[in-house]
């Protein structure tokens, strides 16, 4: 099968189709029902494909320059994209209708994310966070970040979101538009951050090879720092039960457990790979699998609830640039050469 060369292939994942839509693939979004996939690339195109067989349904000229992010609204109706051109655009998924430019920031829009209830779209451009409703109105705007924002994540319970930048995570509450965000400070340049699904914890990876972890339950948030990574912590992913967080900064996936007093003082699970550096890590929505991929184009899937045991290995044509699970155990992988691969995982 083109795009997937023979590696150690196991029982749990079956490569389904591989395409080469063209240029370096930058981001992707599964439809919530897992029937479609939207993929952005480095020449500004958005390609819509049918998940089952990889048939191209539509191609849009979405942006001038790279598509930075793609995001499918939780109700399945809208696809939003952001680009190097500073624009955020929206499309009706069912018929490809362009809904126009929702934002024009004059700066790269590095992150976009739909709120869990789909009523709001958050975006970050430079040091600005903007949250808009579906009518395109801004309901929250904040420009006080210490540096360009590197992470954006909604609390799964809704109504709250976080951003990360140099030396801190900021927690925002919708409806509190005049209140300053709560700042979780640290001495690192953060490159990503995410709420645990439970909303109790925040985990962030940094440029200087550390993971920062906050437990928000106590009156004063407990801040823990985990060190020892070989490289900047480029990727992290929470397990759906919030009991584990997988991180990667180098050739190994390091999984911390949140039980008891949290990861501080505990010994993590480490899963080595053959990648020089892992760039993506993702826990499947059902919690049954953990996937990781990296600079050598390798994709690893650990089956089983505890993510233990030997992974299955697949080899892509080029360094993996985007990777993510659908709601139904489909894994999409895009690489720098433009190859797109989908896999379906059988129940372990």
């Amino acid at each position: 099968m083109p795009g997937v060369t023979a590696g150690k292939q196991g029982e749990a994942a079956r490569p389904a189709w591989t395409l080469q839509p063209g240029e370096c693939l930058t981001d992707h979004a599964w439809s919530p029902d897992a029937r479609y996939v939207a993929v952005g690339d480095a020449v500004g195109r958005l390609t819509l494909l049918v998940a089952e067989d990889g048939r191209v349904e539509r191609v849009f000229d979405a942006h001038e320059g790279d598509v930075l992010q793609t995001a499918w609204s939780p109700d399945g109706e809208l696809i939003a994209t952001s680009g190097l051109d500073g624009a955020v655009r929206a499309w009706r998924a069912v018929n490809g209708e362009r809904l126009g430019v929702w934002a024009s920031e004059g700066e790269w829009v590095n992150r976009i994310a739909w709120s869990p209830d789909g009523r709001h779209l958050a975006l970050t451009a430079g040091k600005v966070l903007r949250v808009m409703n579906r009518r395109g109105e801004t309901v929250l705007e904040y420009a006080g970040h210490a540096s360009t924002v590197t992470a954006l994540d909604w609390h799964q319970g809704g109504g709250r979101l976080l951003t990360a930048c140099y030396r801190g995570v900021r927690l925002f509450t919708l409806g509190d538009r005049h209140r300053e965000p709560r700042v979780l400070g640290c001495m690192s340049a953060l490159v990503n951050a995410a709420w645990s699904p439970s909303g109790r914890y925040v985990c962030a990876g940094s440029q200087d090879r550390e993971v920062h972890f906050w437990d928000l339950k106590p009156t004063r948030p407990a801040h823990m720092v985990m060190r020892g990574y070989a490289s900047k912590v480029a990727a992290l992913s929470w397990s759906p039960d919030s009991r584990r967080v997988a991180t990667a900064g180098g050739e190994a996936v390091v999984v911390w457990r949140t039980e008891g007093r949290g990861p501080a003082g505990s010994r993590p699970d480490e899963h080595r790979t053959a990648e020089r550096r892992l760039t993506a890590v993702a826990w499947s929505p059902d919690g049954k699998r953990l996937a990781a991929s990296g600079t050598e184009g390798g994709v690893y899937i650990w089956p089983g609830a505890g993510a233990r045991g030997e992974p299955e290995r697949y080899q892509m044509e080029a360094p993996v640039t985007t990777m993510g699970w659908s709601a139904h155990a489909g894994l999409l992988i895009g690489d720098r050469a433009g190859y797109l691969t989908a896999m379906w995982c059988r129940d372990a």
């Binding site: 240029e23 370096c24 930058t26 480095a42 790279d66 190097l84 790269w108 590095n110 430079g126 540096s147 360009t148 590197t150 140099y166 001495m187 690192s188 340049a189 940094s206 440029q207 200087d208 550390e210 490289s231 900047k232 480029a234 020089r276 550096r277 600079t295 640039t321 720098r336």
Partner: protein, 449 residues
């Protein structure tokens, strides 16, 4: 990664104040037909006059690393933008980063050492600084940014030479070299220069030869004069009149014979001895022949010192200053002695700025562990003030030359080709602020086996 197989994209950092000719150079590079496709990241606002799809703008964002060391910084914006450029890497052959005149080159350089994603995909080709000769002549003493940009550069374009008199230009050239002994300096008008001098320089490649004026390493000796004499065993006298310095360091060694080889051998030994602890000799006191660094204390009325020569034969005197400056005379039984041979060496450069280059060149081999300990302690304490370091070293027990370079506390070294019978020699250049030559030399020499 070796040079032949390195397919990483080369990056040139172009620095200089607005008006220096930096933008002229950049525009020329972008328009000239040299067959290279160039992507540009500009920090100055909208300065580039060319419409180019691959021109990106960035606002400088400096991130301090979390190790408590204030010189360990990276440019967060460049990490992000260079990472983004990698999605289209087939569309260009070279990247230029145009920094502002006020930019600290330290974080830019360190970014290429410290971020793994960048190291995997990109290599720093050279830091090129364009300098307005007329402007810098007036400001070089006072402008810290100006000095730092010169200190960090691999290539310096001394531009607008048509506006400066030849003599002043030579002085400026010398002042710049005093700060940065390793950079290539080109004199230009209207930033006109062969592209090959600015792109494809490979300044950060670890090469087994330092691109330094060989005289810089050889001639910066701790003594200004050496004279050889035929001396008979017994007492001699050394007279000094008051002069520019109330002290004079002298080392006296026996020579094996009158050959040039013996002289060279003694000279190397003399350099080593000159970094030993000085022993103060008051007027009327006696100098020692052999490894002692005699520090003659010259009173306001001058000094007379005794020199006892154990064995008849050829000897050499190394003196910190020229004898003529102190009317120094060697006498035996009252009669003045003339040297058989005398050599003068250049005095170390005087500097207006606190930024200088210190070069150490000595034969021998280093104890690798001692050197590493010394270097790490030095960088920990002085890392902020040491901008660049380049060296080729001989390590005891290793067949290969060790080549390395560093920026602040970051250090990268590899084994190069074997010495193979070639004389083992160490070359080390520091470029930085408030460098203490004596301290660096002593510390380095303590690592020799």
């Amino acid at each position: 990664m070796d040079a032949v197989n390195d397919d990483r994209v080369p990056v040139t950092v172009l620095s200089g104040f607005l008006g220096s000719g930096k933008t002229t150079l950049l525009n020329r590079i972008l328009t000239e037909q040299h067959g290279k496709r160039i992507a540009v990241i500009e920090n100055e606002f909208g300065e580039i006059g060319i419409d180019n799809e691959l021109v990106m703008h960035s606002d400088e964002e400096i991130f301090e690393m979390n190790n408590g060391c204030i010189c360990c910084t990276v440019r967060g914006d460049l990490i992000r933008i260079l990472g983004r450029l990698m999605t289209r890497r087939d569309r260009f052959d070279h990247i230029m980063i145009e920094t502002t005149g006020l930019a600290d080159p330290g974080p830019v350089a360190q970014t290429f050492f410290m971020d793994d994603e960048i190291r995997e995909n990109l290599r720093l080709d050279a830091i090129v600084t364009v300098v307005d000769a007329k402007h810098v002549a007036q400001h070089i003493g006072a402008s810290r940014e100006c000095q730092e940009q010169i200190a960090f550069a691999d290539v310096i374009l001394l531009n607008k030479t048509d506006l400066v008199a030849a003599g002043a230009l030579d002085d400026l050239d010398e002042a710049i070299r005093g700060m940065n002994a390793v950079a290539r300096i080109h004199r230009t008008q209207h930033a006109e220069i062969d592209i090959g001098c600015v792109l494809g320089v490979r300044a950060f490649e670890l090469r087994s030869k330092l691109d330094v004026d060989p005289d810089f390493l050889k001639e910066e000796l701790p003594f200004e004069w050496a004279g050889s004499y035929e001396l008979s065993a017994g007492n001699h006298e050394l007279h000094c009149a008051p002069g520019p310095d109330p002290e004079l360091d002298v080392v006296v060694l026996e020579l094996a014979d009158a050959s040039p080889a013996a002289f060279e051998a003694a000279k190397k030994q003399g350099v080593l001895d000159f970094s030993g602890m000085p022993v103060r000799i008051e007027p009327g006191g006696a100098l020692m022949v052999g490894g002692q660094r005699n520090r003659l204390v010259i009173a306001e009325t001058g000094g007379r010192f005794a020199l006892n020569v154990p064995r008849t034969g050829r000897h050499v005197l190394f003196t910190q200053h020229l004898p003529v400056e102190l009317d120094m005379k060697l006498r035996h039984n009252g009669a003045p002695l003339a040297p058989e041979e005398a050599r003068e060496y250049a005095a170390p450069h005087e500097h207006d700025s606190s930024i200088s280059s210190v070069g150490i060149g000595t034969p021998g081999s280093l104890d690798a562990d001692r050197f590493e300990s010394w270097m790490m302690a030095l960088l920990r304490i002085k890392g902020v003030d040491i901008f660049r370091m380049k060296g080729v070293l001989s390590l005891a027990g290793k067949e290969e030359r060790f080549v390395f370079q560093g920026v602040h506390m970051l250090f990268d070294g590899v084994e190069d080709r074997p010495w193979d019978g070639e004389e083992r020699y160490n070359q080390l250049v520091f470029i930085g602020r408030n460098l203490d030559r004596d301290e660096l030399e002593q510390g380095f020499r303590a690592c020799l086996v």
